[in-house]
């Protein structure tokens, strides 16, 4: 499994209120959620994703704030293939795994990759390649239990396939 695309870069503490503002939480429709993703932070977001910027790179504590699963859902439904951050807020982290949005913790990559760089993420070998800068970063691998959920495409899919034990 891998993900390739140009990068949209954000800073530290990107919270769930800017990823998807609460005023739009009166729906569970992924397409509607995606149409409002990041609108309070970055109006150019949907346009850039449409032009091939399918990887988000951010600093510390990405996804902090509420438990709304609407946040990773909105990001995924926008067409983002992977989020790389220095680290993630914990509920966002587990929600992403549970819904099958690929996320990667890599402080080195988060520091060095710049907006607009072209990046390829190799999930199996745990390598991130920066094609623009010809650089390579090693990411922290997931423990096997979580890897099984991610590979299945999320928690519900993993449960359907009986991957979680009884």
């Amino acid at each position: 499994m891998n993900a390739k695309g140009k990068v949209i870069k954000y800073g530290n503490n990107i919270d769930t209120d800017v990823i998807i503002p609460a005023r739009h939480l009166n729906t569970t429709d992924e397409k509607v959620l995606a149409s409002h993703c990041m609108e309070d932070l970055d109006k150019s977001f949907p346009g850039r994703v449409g032009e091939g910027c399918t990887i988000i790179v951010a600093g510390k504590n990405f996804g902090c704030g509420s438990s709304r699963e609407h946040a990773p859902l909105a990001i995924k439904a926008s067409g983002i293939a992977c989020v790389i951050a220095s680290d993630f807020a914990r509920i966002f982290y587990r929600n992403s795994i549970n819904i099958g949005l690929p996320i990667v913790e890599c402080p080195e990559a988060a520091a060095s990759i710049e907006d607009g760089d072209e990046v390829e993420v190799f999930f199996d070998s745990g390598v991130i390649k920066n094609l623009t800068k010809s650089a390579e970063y090693k990411m922290t691998p997931f423990p096997p239990f979580l890897q099984a959920i991610i590979s299945a495409g999320g928690l519900i899919a993993a449960a359907e396939k009986n991957l979680l034990g009884d």
Binding site: T28, C64, E69, H70, I91, N98, I156
Partner: protein, 419 residues
């Protein structure tokens, strides 16, 4: 190697003699919670599992508190989805308008969560119940769906920071000031993925409402959970709410902590978090002149009876500033009724405040008090992110009920000692 309080509760719930930080486990849950925003997503995911029935209709709580009484058609439809699900599955603890309170005030008050329990909720402030000595943590809707079917959730066992609280807080200093002080000190990711374990002889000076407020905001430091050592006050509180089975999990003397932080409660001043992060704290002595347009006293952080009592004591016989709108939102119907019987609601109304039925309302910028561009609010809530209470160019200042009430009178952020 010894275990922390949080690790012990987790170990018990997955039937293992011991656990270490970093282990991944499946554990049995005592309560699964969802609200009107997160449950509709969970109901959708639950349907995909094709489970014949929920794991236990007594151990699921569905609380319609965020956009209720329904603020618009879409919100009404979301609640309807949950209402139908609750009916079909005979969910005992379904709380709708008329009975509802803000979830994290409601569940402890109803005795639905308590010491030694393992609780997940599809709401980040589920960490509140740590005040009672429970391990409780916020998760997402998919976790909630899986838990409703199986009664289980996966956990990565957290390491912990131990906070040793010492001495007695000064007058006007509440749990809110203490937790804001701590978040200001360690930052919004200072406890990322970790447990915050509160111990020390200072705890005896903190009421249960103080502790609930502090555990509530553990998530604002990035923590997985916040937990207090159980004492007589916990036992009394649980008894009053119909639980006679207080269960004590004490940390082992050789439990390993990432860090031990001592907090001298006697040196903490009333504290305010400036926009747009809860870590941007200043003491009341450092705030300067900040004029405000609105005050909100309520939420799962500070909408409990003691909070209203403190605010009413300050507002008694005074008028709120004419340029300031003041909203009082008791967190549950019981708190509303108690406040009425104690005459607090009369005080609020006579001083020019609006009193609302229990709802999350403005806390998350849902309804009932949205801010316009450029407006500022002092709120007893827990988050002040960009756009949290309305327009992206509005501002939220987080404070205790005492500071909020004093500010309501002054029309600017003010110290309770001054008004």
């Amino acid at each position: 190697m010894g275990m922390t309080m949080s690790q012990k509760i987790l170990a018990e719930h997955c039937g293992l003699p011991s656990l270490r930080a970093g282990d991944i486990v499946m554990a049995q849950l005592d309560m699964v919670l969802g609200n009107d925003i997160t449950s509709p997503v969970a109901v959708k995911e639950y349907a995909r599992l094709g489970s014949p029935c929920v794991f236990d209709c007594n151990k699921i709580a569905l609380v319609m508190d965020h956009f209720t009484p329904n603020k618009d058609i879409k919100a009404a439809e979301q609640c309807k989805t949950v209402r139908e699900f609750a009916r079909e599955n005979e969910i005992v603890n379904f709380f709708d308008v008329g009975e509802v309170g803000v979830e994290h005030a409601l569940l402890p008050e109803k005795g639905l969560v308590g010491s030694g329990d393992l609780v997940i909720g599809a709401d980040s402030h589920t960490c509140t119940y740590g005040a009672l000595g429970a391990f409780s943590t916020g998760v997402g809707s998919t976790d909630m769906a899986y838990a409703m079917a199986t009664g289980k959730a996966w956990f990565k066992v957290p390491s912990a920071i131990k906070f040793v609280l010492k001495n007695k807080p000064q007058k006007w200093v509440s749990g809110k000031d203490i937790i804001l002080h701590i978040i200001g000190k360690i930052g919004v990711n200072g406890a990322q993925y970790k447990s915050m374990e509160f111990t020390g002889d200072g705890i005896e000076h903190l009421s249960m409402d103080d502790r609930l407020c502090m555990a509530n905001m553990a998530i604002e430091a990035g923590a997985k959970n916040g937990i207090f050592e159980v004492d007589e006050k916990t036992v009394e509180y649980e008894k009053a709410n119909g639980r006679n089975n207080t269960r004590v999990f004490k940390a082992d003397s050789d439990a390993e902590y990432d860090e031990v932080i001592e907090i001298d409660l006697s040196t903490i001043r009333p504290t305010v978090a400036f926009p747009h992060l809860p870590e941007n704290t200043r003491t009341i002595d450092e705030v300067g002149e900040v004029e405000i347009d609105q005050v909100v006293i309520g939420s799962c952080t500070n909408g409990r009876l003691e909070d209203l009592e403190v605010a009413a004591a300050i507002l008694e016989g005074k008028r709120v500033h004419r340029d300031c709108r003041v909203l009082i939102i008791p967190a549950t119907q019981k708190i509303y009724l108690d406040a009425m019987e104690k005459g607090l609601l009369k005080t609020f109304i006579e001083s020019g405040c609006a009193v609302s039925t229990p709802t999350c309302g403005p806390c998350l910028g849902g309804h009932m008090g949205i801010l316009a561009k450029g407006e500022r609010a002092v709120a007893t809530t827990n988050r002040n992110f960009v756009g949290r209470m309305g327009h992206t160019e509005s501002e939220v200042y987080l404070a205790s009920p005492a500071v909020a009430a004093a500010s309501a009178i002054a029309g600017k952020i003010a110290s309770p000692g001054e008004v």
